[in-house]
């Protein structure tokens, strides 16, 4: 906003900003707060639902599974995304653009379609198991879904663009002569990467890591389909509480916990990085 903007223009902008805020407050923030309110009122007023975090081994198991899967997914997506972004930045001419196009292409496929596509490939009578058995490489089908392997595979596949794009933006800002400069000064290829390129790409890695991890925490469709009820993540567990067992208090307690954890995570990260940059505000 420029300093010489007159008061009337300012007022117009304010009204334009307020209008969507009011709508959001009524149709989103209010219902959300009502749901979250349930966590301290249903079935009885108090923090009984939150006590379950400490006492219920089932809930602790779900949280542990969720954190484990999300950390693994984030790490794998970062490694693969890093490689893709690096290649896209350093390939000459159209090749880099083509690579980026394929990364963006996956944005167009809904998460549901992708999960079903993985099912087709991975289930016991799916494409991969059938081929492997036809070629006589295995006798019995491999367990590729209904376990963490399937869930992580599907989630990593979904998260790669979210990891690759912030890294790509970051790497494009790194002077391509820095690594040659390090080599010229006596550093080998590995040393040049570790001492010069990696530190320069660290802000990108942190941004991509935060985005990927937070997105992963809320995954629902992919774990539900590829985990097949065996590998239970927190979103699916919440859905079960709300839809099936009608345990609304417990479900909304977990939702509140998830939301607050994410805010806490962002608060901690904001000490190390400028969050406005991570989310592209700046």
């Amino acid at each position: 906003m420029t300093a010489d903007m007159d008061a009337q223009t300012r007022r117009v902008y304010l009204v334009l900003l307020l209008a969507p805020l009011v709508v959001l407050a009524f149709v989103y923030l209010y219902p959300l707060s009502r749901v979250l309110w349930l966590s301290v009122t249903v079935p009885t007023p108090g923090f009984g639902n939150y006590e379950r975090l400490l006492t219920s081994s089932a809930i602790q198991g779900v949280i542990w599974t969720t954190v484990r899967i999300c950390v693994l997914t984030t790490m794998l997506a970062l490694v693969i995304g890093y490689a893709i972004a690096y290649a896209a930045v350093h390939l000459r001419g159209w090749r880099g653009e083509l690579l980026l196009f394929f990364v963006l292409l996956s944005f167009w496929l809904s998460v549901l379609i992708r999960a079903f596509a993985w099912l087709t490939l991975l289930q016991s009578r799916g494409v991969i198991n059938t081929w492997l058995m036809d070629f006589g490489l295995i006798d019995a089908p491999l367990a590729l879904i209904r376990n963490e392997f399937g869930v992580v595979l599907g989630m990593v596949h979904y998260m790669i663009p979210y990891a690759a794009l912030p890294l790509f933006a970051n790497m494009r800002g790194i002077d391509p002569r820095l690594v040659p400069a390090a080599r010229g000064l006596g550093a080998g290829p590995v040393q040049s990467f570790l001492k010069v390129y990696l530190p320069m790409s660290l802000p990108g890695l942190i941004s991509a890591g935060i985005l990927t991890f937070i997105f992963s925490l809320g995954f629902y469709v992919t774990p539900a389909l590829l985990g097949g009820g065996k590998t239970l993540m927190i979103s699916e567990y919440i859905a079960v509480q709300i839809n099936d067992t009608l345990n609304w208090g417990l479900g909304s307690m977990l939702a509140t916990t998830l939301l607050l954890s994410i805010f806490a995570l962002l608060a901690v990260m904001s000490i190390f990085v400028d969050l406005r940059k991570v989310f592209g505000v700046k």
Partner: protein
């Protein structure tokens, strides 16, 4: 110790494009050699092959007699100053300078001493704690130079290093670079497209065009004895005269150009041009005199001044003559009458002032 560099039939092709075409060159140890050429001439590609960042398609590169054609850059022990400097932005000036020493596992106290010594050498004592972005262009340039020299490289390579700086700063750094070269005795290979820079700094200039060496030699010899029209034109300013040889004696010959009869001395040992053949000559504008009357002993052509540009120390004069448009540079400080457009004058030059060019078109 500084090392010599030898290129043997070095070629670099990108697909069908020949960036460097069969270049052989000997750079003796301790010399300051400039690779000079227009942009796209292949001079930077040549430097990148010497540095090890580009691999020669054919030919050999030797350093101190040892074949380094396929050696990775980090093993060559050459310092390099990149265009744009390529300082590490996440490190301070001192950390940038320490980088090559830390990589070599030099003890911490020695590193600190060396960094201090280099900072003094490039007059940046107080800036060790700053980050590159907090420095001016000239200071960044000095940091890059210090970083490339701190590990006592055998050769220092400089890629268009001064081009981004303004003229005054550049002149200062040119002097510093010459001083450093004299003090350290390291072989310097400098790439530039700036002919003035090349003339003022180098022991030897290698002129490159279309991926080939066109001519090489000491700055003075090259300026006064260009073999081709390209060299005469690229290195300084020149008038070009086309003529037909009318008579030949032992030391000189006469030729006709634009209806004028002119004489030209031959340097000792130079072959005389064939009678009746065409000759092409280059004539430096500062070797012309602008006179009111013709001088009998020298060449002279009538001219009408069409433009005069005052350049401080000199007047730059453009004139039309029977030989075509010509330019002359005369000193402004001699108290002579100020030349003006429309003046009818004589342009005069001595028999040995012009240079006979090889036919390179």
């Amino acid at each position: 110790m500084s090392a010599s560099i030898t290129l043997e039939h070095v070629t670099k092709s990108y697909g069908r494009h020949l960036a460097v075409d069969d270049v052989s060159l000997d750079i003796p140890a301790g010399r300051f050699v400039t690779l000079l050429g227009p942009s796209g001439s292949g001079k930077t590609t040549l430097l990148m092959m010497i540095a090890g960042f580009a691999r020669a398609t054919a030919g050999r590169i030797l350093a101190g007699g040892r074949d380094i054609t396929n050696e990775p850059p980090e093993r060559r022990e050459f310092g390099m100053v990149f265009q744009g400097y390529a300082l590490f932005p996440n490190m301070t000036v001192a950390e940038n300078l320490a980088f090559p020493l830390k990589i070599r596992g030099v003890a911490r106290e020695t590193v600190a001493q060396e960094v201090k010594r280099m900072l003094e050498l490039v007059h940046l004592q107080s800036l060790g704690g700053r980050y590159p972005r907090e420095l001016s262009g000239g200071q960044q340039q000095r940091v890059a130079l210090a970083r490339a020299l701190i590990f006592n490289p055998k050769v220092l390579l400089l890629d268009e290093s001064l081009s981004a700086l303004d003229k005054k700063l550049r002149a200062g750094l040119q002097e510093e670079l010459r001083d450093l070269h004299a003090r350290l005795g390291t072989t310097f290979v400098f790439v530039t497209h700036d002919q003035e820079e090349a003339l003022s700094m180098s022991d030897e200039i290698v002129i490159i065009n279309h991926g080939r060496i066109v001519q090489s030699g000491a700055p003075k010899a090259l300026y006064n004895g260009p073999r081709t029209r390209f060299v005469a034109d690229f290195l300084g300013r020149a008038n070009f005269i086309e003529g037909t040889v009318s008579s030949v004696s032992g030391q000189d010959f006469s030729y006709a150009a634009g209806g004028q009869s002119l004489r030209q001395a031959l340097p000792t040992g130079a072959p005389a041009p064939g009678l009746g053949g065409t000759v092409s000559l280059a004539l430096r504008p500062e070797k012309l005199q602008v006179l009111g009357e013709p001088v009998p002993a020298a060449n002279a052509v009538p001219a009408e001044i069409i433009r005069v540009t005052y350049e401080g120390a000199d007047y730059h004069i453009r004139a039309t003559t029977p030989l075509g448009p010509m330019q002359a540079i005369v000193p402004s400080g001699m108290g002579a009458a100020e030349p003006a457009p429309g003046d009818n004058v004589w342009l005069s030059w001595n028999e040995d002032a012009a240079v006979v060019l090889a036919d390179d078109r």
